[in-house]
Structure formats: structure tokens, C-alpha cells
């Protein structure tokens, strides 16, 4: 077991490093998300009113928004890394990169929109 993770062709050191750092951040946010959602929030946000009460604290939408951005970026970089193993052509990779950037932006935009709607209802 001597192979260590390193940038692959088409990935570059920057994206590889960003993916690894984001992975660490996902773990940190996930632990925080889990503790707050399931251990601190009474009842574990298992009804609508509990969710609204949870979002009435202004720090929560900010943390959840950052978590969303980090997790989507790590996810898309990871899926891209799997696709690189399939040795796509440069043209296909370029198209996929556009799809990933658009898809990631839409997902983040949608998530932020949800956060704004919920915060407005509190």
C-alpha cells in the first residue's frame, strides 16, 4: 500500500489541493452540522416549526450556506476526478467542466434561495 494521492492528468495541482482541503472542511462542517441539527436542536428538526426556529438564529443560515458551497464543490471535483479515470478527450472534459460549473452554480444558488426563503419565514 505505497500509492499516495497525487494530481492526475487534467486535474492539476491546484484543483487536487482544493479538493483535499475542501474534503477536510466538509468533515468539519459535517460534524458541526450533525451536532447542531441532531444533538443541540430539540427533537432533531423533525418538524417544520423546529426548522424555522433553528433558522431564526442568524449564524445558522451562514454556516449552512458555507457548508453547502464546500460540499458541492468537493462533490463536483470528486466526480470530475472519477471521470478523469475514464480518460475523456480534452473536448469532452471542457464540456464537462462547463456542465460542472453551471450545475454547481445552480445547486448553490438554489440552496441559498432556500435559505433566504426559510430565514424570511422565521
Amino acid at each position: 500500500m505505497n500509492n499516495i494521492s497525487k494530481p492526475k492528468a487534467g486535474e492539476g495541482t491546484t484543483l487536487w489541493l482544493v479538493k483535499i482541503i475542501l474534503g477536510g472542511l466538509v468533515i468539519a462542517f459535517l460534524v458541526l452540522h450533525f451536532i447542531v441539527n441532531h444533538l443541540i436542536a430539540p427533537g432533531g428538526l423533525l418538524n417544520y416549526q423546529a426548522v424555522l426556529d433553528y433558522y431564526s438564529n442568524p449564524i445558522i443560515p451562514i454556516i449552512e450556506g458555507l457548508f453547502l458551497i464546500v460540499v458541492i464543490a468537493h462533490c463536483l471535483l470528486g466526480v470530475r476526478s472519477v471521470i478523469l479515470d475514464l480518460n475523456p478527450s480534452k473536448r469532452l472534459l471542457k464540456i464537462l467542466d462547463i456542465v460542472f460549473v453551471l450545475g454547481g452554480s445552480i445547486a448553490v444558488g438554489y440552496g441559498i434561495w432556500l435559505l433566504v426563503i426559510l430565514t424570511a419565514r422565521t
Partner: protein
């Protein structure tokens, strides 16, 4: 080179024969990662229930408490724990930390994963 990914080897991810431990770690990371990516999509879709209002969200939560969905959630938790802990090993070794002890780290982290998964399963299925 041995153990290197290639398009022609994609389906061999699912072939359990003649594996080295490094390959198992690689396959586990990829399969759990893809599973979690799929779950993220479903999770974002599910959150739209919150915008639809109280009844839609509460109905969804009632569905989420059914045994089939709970088993699905258990798979997500297991994938998250395995991917996260295996990812810590990958992150550390990427920066040159513990590269000589990868095998021991992998085994140790997977034992921790099993313990955590068992703990979550106990709380989810027997702790209520």
C-alpha cells in the same frame, strides 16, 4: 504499473478477486463518494419540501421514519463515515504524513468506521 486506474479497468472495480489493500481503499473511496454525490442531489431535492410548506415537510418526515427509508439513511451514514475517515488518511498521506503506515491507518480507520456505523445503527433502529 500495478493498481493504477484506467478506463478499461472501470468494471473491475466490482471484481473482488486478486485485490491489494490499496485497491480496496481506492474502490471504497470512489464507490462511497459516488453514492454520496447521488444522495446530495436527492437531499437538495428533498429540501424543496420546506418551501412547499408545513404539511409537505411534515409528510416527508413521516415518510423518512419508515423502515425502508431508514435503511437507506443507514447506507448514507455508513458511506459518509467510510468516505470521511478514508479521506482523512488520503489527506494526511497527500501531505507526506504517515505514508509508511498507510495500511495500518486504513485498517484502524475502517475498524473505527465499523464501530461508528454500529453505534448509529443501534441509535436509529433500537434507540427509540
Amino acid at each position: 504499473m500495478k493498481n493504477q486506474p484506467a478506463p478499461s479497468k472501470f468494471m473491475r472495480w466490482f471484481d473482488p478477486r486478486f485485490r491489494q489493500m490499496g485497491t480496496w481503499a481506492f474502490i471504497l473511496n470512489r464507490v462511497t463518494g459516488l453514492g454520496l454525490a447521488l444522495y446530495l442531489l436527492l437531499h437538495l431535492f428533498m429540501l424543496s419540501k420546506l418551501v412547499q410548506g408545513e404539511t409537505a415537510y411534515n409528510d416527508f418526515i413521516a415518510l423518512a421514519k419508515t423502515p425502508v427509508i431508514k435503511v437507506g439513511e443507514m447506507f448514507v451514514i455508513a458511506a459518509g463515515i467510510i468516505h470521511g475517515l478514508n479521506g482523512i488518511r488520503i489527506g494526511l498521506t497527500s501531505f507526506g504524513i504517515g505514508t509508511r503506515y498507510q495500511k495500518q491507518m486504513f485498517i484502524g480507520l475502517m475498524v473505527v468506521s465499523l464501530i461508528l456505523i454500529a453505534g448509529f445503527a443501534y441509535v436509529m433502529f433500537l434507540g427509540e
